[in-house]
Symmetry: D2
Subunit: 178 residues, 4 copies
């Protein structure tokens, strides 16, 4: 039974929206650490790999649609290296937190997951909010420092401090995460 | 903006499980009324069509997988006539109620939906439980009498009485529903 | 650590509402079995005693107010024998299910409770709905047959059958419950 | 019908815990602005006044207990001026967000509240997390700049920026809030 879940947040992104410029500069640096982390996660029996991605308000969209739109977007080079494998769990979300309006709490609880490992975007938004919702539910938290991307550097830094100080999260580099 | 949502519950079913015999006898009678109701719903601007279906514990499955498994199951004749159109909303659920662990409440609320119209299976289980969760959230409820299927006739009948008496649901035939 | 929770639902009732006549006839029969069950529960280290009661739409009301209004109501004889002890947990609820809009799931989960034992009113409404919400969250369920009260005998009976057949609940007499 | 709700978060605090020194220095500055804001709120028909306070893990505690323990704590001078009036709504919470495990969303929705006005403590914890949960549910948000208290000034400042920039919150002084 898995005891950790690596949760990849919102990395299927067409990068067409406002703020994309600030964001992509940060995302670029996460791709290689995240890609290697995904490789290691897939070799581990005690780590469940899970993608949670916004459906951007389209409730007719399923996983294939979200993958295709991200690949057809502005920056397929930021998508292709970290595409979800076919056999990994996938949840669509509708708002910032990966827990809100999804089966994530149910899934983690049923699988005996005690620790969530957060990667993806945006550090000071969806990552922070998902960490919070994990914390109030008493999951242990790791945040992969070089596999989360911010829009505003100061807020990204403050979010990491909040998770460290107020949610007892471990802030770790990808290379030491698993 | 839609003011009603026709919610089709758990009709993508491979019918391979226990109780399938009792269930399919009842489902057979719902297919033609439901098929016609779906046709009328698609012509109406004020009705949102929404499928909510169990993922049967497989979090890697998406809509296409659930459709294919139902079509590859024991009773494709009960699936093919009521397949979800490509452009309709679709939510995977993990337990009996269509509201539990899903974005259904969020979706209905954002779309201004005031009334939910329930069809599908099983009257005394997922339909009853979804009606309850709609009722505590103050949605108006219609249950399509000839488009819901039961396993146990007495419990199906009791469920309809409960929804009528205790949840102020209107129990209506498909022909008078829209 | 507790492994069971005895949950007393909506027994602080002024009995002034519609249907009170049908209800009180059934409640009368539950008082003595429930009173004895409460005594036994209080002696058990492995049973957590928990009252969950509707606030009847008054968010300024706290536990003392709800107790006093029930004692000042039409049937204090149905309230006084089963009043909550000062040192027991108490949650106000706002709708039918004891889980909706309350900290019940959080409390049970934090205390390591695996089994909920349901008593109170109304069998075919709040008891049934609370059982369902316990079931989707994978709690084991017991329903205390002679300590739950119905309004409609046929629906109360159907609710017990639904909990037995579809939620794997054990339907037990109070004398054999703990 | 109310269209705004002034939500006072965690101001019933015995101030005996870790970090209380850092916290109380900031709380001191909020008492007078908050006290005046409460006065104005009570005169307004379109503002609902609502206290949400942690039960500090004690599910037997009700409102009177939480008030008394705060008044019996280290800093009754920070509690007495802003005590909840008897006729205001009160919800106990169990974790950081005022929405988690409470009836807050239900209450706001039933009362037609569109805007939440947040005051209390701690800016970078419960206030931030409650703002987030309000934001994902599409409430408008105001944060009362001089009636929220932080532990760490830099994180308090970052939290205000996050609410402003990422949750469209208006950061306003108490004197211009109502």
């Amino acid at each position: 039974m898995s005891t950790s879940a690596l949760i990849v947040v919102d990395m299927l992104n067409p990068y067409g929206h406002q703020d994309a410029g600030l964001l992509t500069a940060s995302v670029e640096r996460t791709i290689e650490p995240l890609r290697r982390l995904l490789e290691r996660a897939r070799e581990r029996d005690d780590v469940r790999l899970l993608y949670v991605n916004d459906n951007y308000g389209d409730f007719t969209a399923d996983r294939d649609d979200l993958v295709r739109r991200a690949m057809d977007g502005e920056r397929p080079d930021l998508v292709e290296p970290i595409l979800p494998p076919d056999d990994c769990d996938f949840l669509a979300k509708v708002r910032h937190s990966a827990f809100y309006g999804t089966a994530l709490e149910y899934l983690l609880s049923r699988e005996g997951v005690e620790e969530v490992i957060l990667a993806g975007q945006v550090t000071e938004q969806c990552v922070l909010y998902s960490a919070l919702d994990a914390y109030v539910r008493h999951f242990k938290i790791k945040v992969v420092r070089d596999a989360v991307a911010h829009i505003h550097p100061d807020l990204g830094f403050a979010a990491l401090r909040m998770m460290d100080l107020n949610m007892r999260a471990k802030i770790v580099p990808a290379a030491q995460c698993l």
